[in-house]
Symmetry: C2
Subunit: 421 residues, 2 copies
């Protein structure tokens, strides 16, 4: 029997999977378009199910539409009620996204199960390779993991961020039933942990010349709709002094938010992703600018301080230009630390594989945020060329993908051999 | 026979007209909605025709859909080929505009003709009270006057700023024929001049406590579509330093444009009326922001210097944030001085009526811009309460409306008694 330490994933098999999956929803420019529960996404899910069955793993689907490959890994004397270590990511993409985000993590998880099965490794936990439903949030966001962790409430589905119509059409297309999403919660004792391989979506690994990132925290995110309200006036006959120009407040805030983060919050980010102008004509002073704004911070302290600083600045800029400000808080994810167990297992796996690693904060949200409340979680980042993300330019060198898969394998073996995390 | 110096318009008759017209297309909040060649606008034109006929004036309509009341004013020995002094404005409005803009000028013109006719005043010119087609530019802008002045070209109608569909639907609704718009040019020798009463659309008269504004120049307007182009990146995982955020360039330009005008161009204005963001999501760094921008200046020198300063600043802000800048020039109206004759006639009328007056630049465009190329022109401004314009809040005190009508009457009498301007 093979020494478990010598186990490696099969790079050729992983590559064949990767290339096949990248064809589904391909946009022709190297990217893919697989929004959650779109036809392309459903095709990718069907393909995943076929690979699971081809590998003689057990296909599972829950009420939230999460698809998975299940592998019982106990020795004959173990209890079949053993917890399950989840591995995985998601097959949906942002509109016009890249081939790597999500897809790589699902394929690495599937490959780990195949290797463990082929080598008949016995473990204290079962393994399950997950494809979580709607991670990216075309419909709701981090949806499948919220359902499993028991965080999902009926009201989250009543006013989904992608709109109610898109939601209803999506679940109808997938043959899913809304109320079943609320019945997908897994018993906490069944969850042994969660590990995910993901692209970094940034340049820090490349800049530091490290092969693997060990995520320490997933940032908190707060989203706001800020409406600067002035007065529509004739843009020719109203003097500059007499204007209450909503564009000035929105623009000043946009510049200030960047400056505040750069100066005082080096581990944080902020983004004005959109402005909407009304009335929106060349010759009318803007009466109203709606700013779609979010901020992210790695710790609860930074999160609270950054939030306070930016909202105070929005108020100050509105006052400076004699504008009203309406602040609509759209929700937040609090900063989520990854578990010590998960980080340690990844660190040990990197050491055993001779891979250089560094701790990193994830600036993006991930399903691990939801699962962190109910089981130990860990995330393995692999380098993103040029930091590109949510774009057809997304790229991770193939050797780095293989490294990520092998780290997942060995981190999973470490965690799954310990019966009680 | 009445002494011409004692002539006054009939305030009650003017008021009855004003109130009746303000019902047509009324929006219920004190404003009106009469976009060019909409049903409401066509109803207003029909009402105007009825008033012309009721006053026993001659109704005229040309190929550009300009409606007018014509009054031959010669003494029996004069040549019927005498030139015609045009008076007027427009009955169309911006979407959800006010009751005064345009309507007041048309009604004052009609009232002047009624007074001249009733008193059988003989003049060296005929008088014509004009309702120009599509002044506001829902379809093309300053359209009827461009046709009369001979500025209109077929290509202006091929790509109208309101879109080709709206144009075709509008002229069909009005029973107009596109090629006839190009045949509405009047012989230059037939045009004795043009005078218009209009609301100021600003606060300068009120601030200076003056009753009448004598327009010296109509500002030049240049319009641009400025596209700041950066790179879409994940707004969580991309550091602030690594971003090429199109919102930063657009915002910095928006603030700078205001500051430059306030500091160096006190007689000018600039407006960012709209920004459009792409991709336009909370969690994506904006790759592209399209800025709808215009600038206005009263003289050719200021126009050229302001244009150069603002476009240079747009380039500088793009460079500062590592963005590309695409500059699309959408067109301009050059600054237009009003004629000395016209200004003098208005000044003399104010003096004769005992009204306080001041010279003013018009920050808004008017049909006089087109007519200035072919005949002497003058514009009479009356105060706008709070400077409100293109809004249901638009208001001019009734006594100021009456003053404007009387100034029009006496300025017209002065101009029309001189056979050769």
């Amino acid at each position: 029997m093979i020494n478990v330490r010598e186990l490696r994933i099969n790079p050729a098999r992983l590559r064949a999977d990767f290339d096949a999956l990248a064809q589904i929803g391909a946009t022709g420019d190297g990217g893919i378009h697989r929004p959650a529960l779109s036809d392309a996404h459903l095709s990718a899910r069907k393909w995943f199910r076929e690979q699971i069955e081809k590998a003689n793993l057990e296909f599972r689907m829950d009420g939230a539409g999460n698809h998975s490959a299940f592998l019982a890994c106990q020795s004959p004397i173990s209890n079949l009620q053993s917890p399950t270590l989840l591995l995985g990511s998601h097959l949906d993409s942002v509109p016009n996204g890249g081939r790597f985000d999500g897809a790589l993590g699902v394929l690495c998880a599937l490959e780990v199960l195949r290797v463990v099965k082929e080598n008949q490794v016995t473990l204290a936990m079962n393994l399950e390779a997950m494809d979580f439903t709607d991670e990216e949030g075309t419909l709701v966001g981090l949806l499948g993991s919220a359902a499993i962790a028991g965080h999902l409430r009926a009201e989250h589905l009543q006013n989904p961020r992608g709109g109610r119509d898109a939601w209803e059409q999506g679940i109808a297309r997938a043959g899913l039933i809304e109320k079943e999403f609320l019945n997908a919660t897994r018993p906490r004792e069944s969850l042994g942990g969660y590990l995910e391989v993901h692209i970094e979506q940034g340049k820090r690994l490349a800049n530091a010349r490290k092969q693997i990132g060990i995520v320490t925290d997933i940032v908190g995110i707060a989203s706001y709709r800020l409406t600067f309200i002035g007065r529509a006036d004739h843009a020719g006959s109203t003097t500059m002094e007499d204007r209450r120009d909503a564009a000035q407040g929105a623009s000043a805030f946009t510049l200030a938010a960047r400056e505040i983060v750069l100066r005082d919050f080096s581990r944080c980010v902020a983004n004005v992703g959109k402005m909407e102008f009304a009335p929106g004509a060349f010759n009318i002073v803007p009466a109203r600018v709606i700013v779609s704004f979010e901020l992210r911070a790695p710790t609860a302290d930074e999160f609270a301080r950054l939030d306070a600083a930016l909202i105070a600045r929005a108020r100050a800029e509105a006052a400076r230009f004699d504008l009203e400000l309406q602040i609509e808080f759209l929700g937040k994810h609090t900063p989520t630390p990854m578990s010590e167990h998960g980080q340690l297992a990844i660190r040990d796996a990197c050491d055993a594989l001779g891979l250089s690693a560094m701790p990193l904060v994830s600036g993006a949200g991930h399903d691990a945020q939801n699962l962190a409340a109910v089981c130990p979680v860990g995330m393995i980042f692999v380098p993103s060329v040029a930091g590109a993300s949510h774009s057809a330019r997304e790229l991770t060198e193939w050797k780095d993908c293989v490294n990520g898969a092998n780290v997942l394998l060995h981190a999973a073996l470490r965690l799954a051999r310990q019966p009680n995390l």
